[in-house]
Symmetry: C2
Subunit: 221 residues, 2 copies
DNA sequence: ACATTCAATGAACGATCGTTCATTATATGC
DNA sequence: GCATATAATGAACGATCGTTCATTGAATGT
């Protein structure tokens, strides 16, 4: 029984080695130069392995994209679990995770942009090149809706929708900024900008540092 | 004399044909499949032309990137010339240009993202894959600084800097959104979101539709 | 009209691409 | 311990890659 597991485990390990080698290659030499030779050399496996485990190079790229996407959402969810329960604290957690070194670093951002460059011509890759899925959108929207209603703004639904879309666009823009200027990018500055915008939209719920934990107390005081 | 011009003109025309064919290829089949064969077939020129005019495929790609970048800034400047003189009207012009069909369309955005995918491994391409140059940054910053000072906010310099960086990030994010979902993207919605954010930062200078032309009158009234 | 100049052509090159498959190595089941 | 199953190998294939260059054709200058 343990023997059988060993074979399966080796198989799994080889698959993962190839996926990681592919992602390393994408990050270091880009999509165009990520060849079968490049990948198997990095994985230190033989040439035939890609077709044995993934049937083709394209399928491997698809699996690598899926892997990168899953890692992103896993990291995000893990960091979200640590957040407070108030809507503004949840939003703070999403934003700070999305700009944390775990999620946003040279390797990850190069992988994302390399994959995205091909997303418009490969439906398979396009499926995994969007960091903004429905679950994340809903989480953010619900939080903003709570705040918009509590803030008694006009048309809270429209405000929450725009705040959600705007925040996601801001984060995407910050990613692009990081990608294009990784060495001069300043995480603190990016966070302050986003929270400044949010504090202008919802002054009782955000300040330049992030979420205001107990806005009701502030109001009463 | 006219004869000499004809030869020069043909030369120029061939160069441009190759550049346009390269950009078409990038938009339609992506960076990885943009080969010499693909390009010369689209340009309907012979195989040797790329090396005659550009010395190598890489140099052609660099020239194509330069061309795309120049087109972007030309379009932007042309649309800016039509804008009003108040800072909020200039900002409105930049934002509306940047999201106009001339500047942001399926072809242009696919070209940008295809090039950016390679920017991290090609310094030559990286030079032209940033839409946010110093001139544009300064224009936006100066406009926000005027508004920030007139609005009598605390630390107008810091506010203007964050508003500039934030607006550019928002625009980049909207571009990404358009790239990933070109058919469901809504220009009006994107504009409203940006102006909603700006109207929250500077209520007397922006509303959901764009710039408030005469904020001083509003104040007096 | 003719010689000169140079843009344009496309066959051919070696290198590398993604893929195939006969062979080898190793884990598994009896 | 041996037969079986399957993971892993890497040489070889045809296709395509970017590049070279001898040749052609048309514009130019006298």
């Amino acid at each position: 029984m343990t023997a059988k597991l060993k074979r399966q485990e080796n198989r799994k390990r080889s698959r993962l080695l190839l996926i990681e080698a592919t992602l390393d290659s994408l990050a270091e030499v880009g999509f165009a130069r990520t060849s079968v030779s490049e990948i198997v050399e990095r994985a230190k496996l033989s040439r035939g392995m890609i077709h044995l485990h993934f049937s083709s190079k394209d399928k491997l790229l698809e699996e690598a994209a899926r892997h990168a996407s899953a890692s992103y959402f896993d990291d995000l969810e893990q960091l979200l679990d640590k957040s407070g329960n108030s809507p503004q604290e949840k939003l703070e957690a999403v934003i700070k995770s999305d700009l944390s070194d775990n999620v946003l670093n040279k390797r990850s951002v190069r992988i994302w942009f390399a994959l995205r460059g091909e997303a418009s011509v490969s439906q398979a890759i396009a499926r995994y090149s969007d960091t903004r899925d429905k679950k994340l959108y809903d989480l953010i929207f619900d939080a903003f809706l709570d705040i918009a209603i509590a803030s008694k703004v006009n048309e809270p639904g429209a405000v929450a929708r725009d705040a959600t879309h705007g925040s996601l666009a801001l984060l995407e823009g910050m990613w692009t900024d990081f990608f294009l200027h990784p060495d001069s990018f300043n995480r603190g500055s990016a966070l302050r900008i986003i929270f400044r915008i949010l504090s202008n939209m919802f002054p009782r719920y955000f300040n330049l540092e992030g979420a205001v934990k107990s806005p009701l107390n502030d109001m009463v005081a």
